[in-house]
């Protein structure tokens, strides 16, 4: 039994060949509602809010989506929560499917999986006329101001955070000694920037020696294994662990606990609740805040303001098209201030959306 009979196969083959030869190819018909949405044309109740992150199974991103929900509630809407499981292709697939639907008054707050995932999302949104805010990942040479529908790109200064915790770590180990670095997913801008920050910090602290750098892919479990190995490899030479995010830092803490080591300082980035607890308990030295709930809300807020006309896209200054958000180094001194992240409705007011800017991305 065959799936197609022989004649059918031939017919299909010929038809295809004919179709191709006829050359009836044309540009994407794509946007039925494409570009149709004039800025400010939308009634608030017609706006569709979409938040997309990697997955709901990590606290930071779950909090992000919750922040989006909080904003949506604030304006009497609901947010469509999309997750793509850290899978770039799947993210693109979801976006293109989303953009094939009703794109009029569509507001998207997207966490691209990697730098390279941003351009197609931007182009798709541009073509379909959906309002887009991206966060974290963007190729450096992609200019937000070149696009109409891509309203803003928000990120934290990774070099700065990497440097801040690097310095904190250097201080914690008394300015000299060996440290190891746990890198994030190697092909993400965040991982590279943060490591570049560490290198800056190392240059400023010449007595601190980087013994080893390994990747643990932003994963707690992988960090645990890698740290265990590094602990045996470097033994007592190891004074500090620099992790490119808190999950890895927490994995490293576990490894230290299992090895019975209490003399190693650990730093991370993101300020996830567990890391804050660890800082409170004194087992972890420092982290840098990334305000997930705020990020989840702010992207939608910017889009919503533009869609409803409260904010005109052309009024957004070039500095506010791509900007670093405010971040704080958290140590045992100020950890209490950050232990319960909450969204503040005032942050999402249309004339306030860029208030946390620390300047344009250079």
């Amino acid at each position: 039994m065959k799936f197609t009979s022989r004649p059918t196969a031939v017919v299909i083959g010929l038809t295809l060949a004919a179709a191709t030869l006829a050359g009836c190819s044309e540009e994407a018909s794509g946007g039925g509602g494409g570009g149709g949405a004039e800025a400010g044309a939308c009634a608030p109740e017609d706006v569709t809010l979409v938040g997309q992150v990697r997955n709901e199974s990590n606290p930071y991103e779950a909090a992000w989506l919750d922040g989006g929900d909080a904003f949506a509630e604030q304006v009497g809407l609901t947010q469509d929560r999309l997750t793509y499981d850290g899978d770039s292709t799947r993210q693109q697939e979801q976006i293109s499917q989303l953009l094939a639907g009703d794109t009029e008054c569509l507001v998207m707050n997207i966490l691209p999986n990697g730098d390279s995932d941003t351009p197609p999302i931007v182009e798709g949104a541009e073509e379909a006329g959906a309002y887009l805010v991206t966060q974290w990942n963007k190729p450096a040479d992609l200019n937000v101001a070149d696009y109409d529908q891509w309203l803003s790109h928000i990120t934290y200064n990774g070099v700065e955070s990497g440097k801040q915790i690097g310095d904190a770590l250097a201080e914690a180990i008394g300015g000299s000694g060996g440290i190891v670095a746990l890198q994030g997913i190697l092909d993400t801008g965040a991982a590279k920037d943060r490591f570049a920050g560490l290198e800056e910090s190392l240059a400023a602290n010449p007595d601190v020696e980087l013994l080893d750098d390994q990747t643990a892919n932003f994963s707690r479990a992988e960090a645990l294994e890698v740290t265990k190995t590094l602990l045996t490899k470097h033994g007592d030479d190891l004074k500090g662990i620099w992790a490119a995010n808190d999950d890895m830092a927490l994995g490293a803490l576990e490894a230290l606990e299992q090895a019975g080591r209490t003399d190693v300082a650990v730093v991370g980035i993101d300020a996830v609740p567990d890391a804050l607890t660890a800082i409170e308990d004194g087992t972890m030295t420092a982290t840098v805040s990334s305000d997930g709930p705020w990020q989840g809300g702010i992207g939608l807020a910017i889009g919503f303001c533009v869609a409803t006309g409260e904010l005109a896209a052309e009024d957004i200054t070039d500095e506010d098209r791509a900007w670093f958000a405010e971040q704080f180094l958290i140590t045992s001194d100020n950890v209490a201030d950050f232990s319960s992240p909450q969204t503040d409705e005032a942050d999402f007011e249309c004339d306030n959306v860029f208030s946390r800017s620390q300047g344009a991305i250079s």
Partner: protein
């Protein structure tokens, strides 16, 4: 030898009825039935889903997956498995992005050729060293991933000159995405070649019973190497499609397409043990898997339930499409 052997005529010729029964015909269309059922269910969940634009987008999305699955189907038909397709596809996106500035319009062909060559090397390793294809391609998977990381310096490479891939983003007749047309042409071309030449016999014989095929003088090793080569070349083509969609090459771009591609093959009703199945089935399977991957979240299923539904539906789809009369023992 021309003398008639055994003069005795056949005593009682059994009635001639070799055509497939209605039931068999139905099973052969099961992948399509599953596809339609799924589409209906999604439309029921969200009536807005069934629009021409939405379908166009889904079909466009499915193209790289369909090409990947189609290539790997050949290996599966031969009784093996190719786990390296996704990593090879990622590597190919990097190669494409790196070579494009130098090779221009030729890049597409060169990348497909290079991927085919890499697939061939795996195939040769498999038949010469007698390493099970599962292990050979599992090893290949990690090697390709490492090479891709190293040559790309672990980062995505942007495509500045988009003309080389622009043709893939066109629409035939304004509706059908060119990438999907290419996928269909690939499936049709390979199917036709198989069907019109002795290759189909070779592939099926190899898949059903390798030792019998070998003792019948079938070029088993050649067929297997060819299957791996085509599987590799298809990974290269899928890479070009991905690059045309993402405007960049990245060392991890297609890595997550491995399990969906294998799922597409099995959902299409091709027996994972080899011999039985076809590329058309995998094409239908790829559409089913794509609808599941993008359709569920779009119609508003939450992340947790999406995974549960995905798991349940994919098992149900295979239960529907598998022709059990061709596969005696289900492992």
């Amino acid at each position: 030898m021309t003398t008639p052997v055994l003069a005795t005529p056949a005593a009682d010729q059994a009635p001639v009825s070799g055509g497939p029964t209605v039931g068999q015909r139905l099973t052969s269309f099961m992948p399509v039935i599953a596809l339609v059922a799924l589409l209906a269910a999604l439309t029921f969940a969200d009536p807005d889903f069934l629009t021409q634009r939405s379908l166009t987008a889904a079909v466009r999305t499915s193209a790289p997956l369909a090409v990947l699955a189609a290539g790997a189907t050949l290996v599966v038909l031969c009784g093996g498995i190719d786990l390296s397709i996704a990593a090879l596809c990622s590597l190919s996106t990097v190669l494409f992005a790196m070579w494009l500035p130098d090779l221009g319009g030729l890049t597409t062909l060169v990348v497909i050729g290079a991927a085919g060559l890499i697939g061939m090397v795996q195939g040769i390793g498999h038949v010469v060293l007698r390493i099970p294809s599962f292990i050979m391609t599992l090893g290949g998977m990690s090697i390709f991933a490492a090479v891709a990381l190293v040559i790309s310096d672990a980062g995505p490479i942007r495509i500045v000159d988009r003309d080389a891939t622009k043709w893939l983003t066109l629409y035939v007749g304004g509706i059908v995405p060119m990438s999907f047309v290419v996928a269909v042409i690939v499936v049709a071309a390979i199917s036709l070649v198989l069907k019109l030449t002795p290759l189909e016999s070779f592939v099926r014989a190899t898949g059903y019973s390798e030792s019998a095929a070998r003792l019948a003088g079938t070029p088993v090793d050649l067929v297997k190497v060819a299957a791996f080569t085509i599987s590799g070349a298809c990974a290269g083509l899928a890479a070009v499609m991905l690059v045309s969609r993402n405007f960049s090459g990245s060392p991890t771009m297609a890595d997550n397409l491995l399990l969906p591609a294998v799922a597409a093959i099995v959902v299409g009703g091709t027996a994972i043990t080899g011999g039985h199945g076809s590329l058309w089935r995998s094409l239908a399977g790829a559409l089913v898997v794509t609808l599941l991957r993008v359709g569920l979240p779009i119609v508003g299923v939450s992340s947790a339930w999406e995974q549960i539904l995905y798991g349940a539906i994919i098992v149900a789809a295979v239960a529907l499409t598998l022709d059990r009369s061709k596969v005696l023992i289900i492992k």
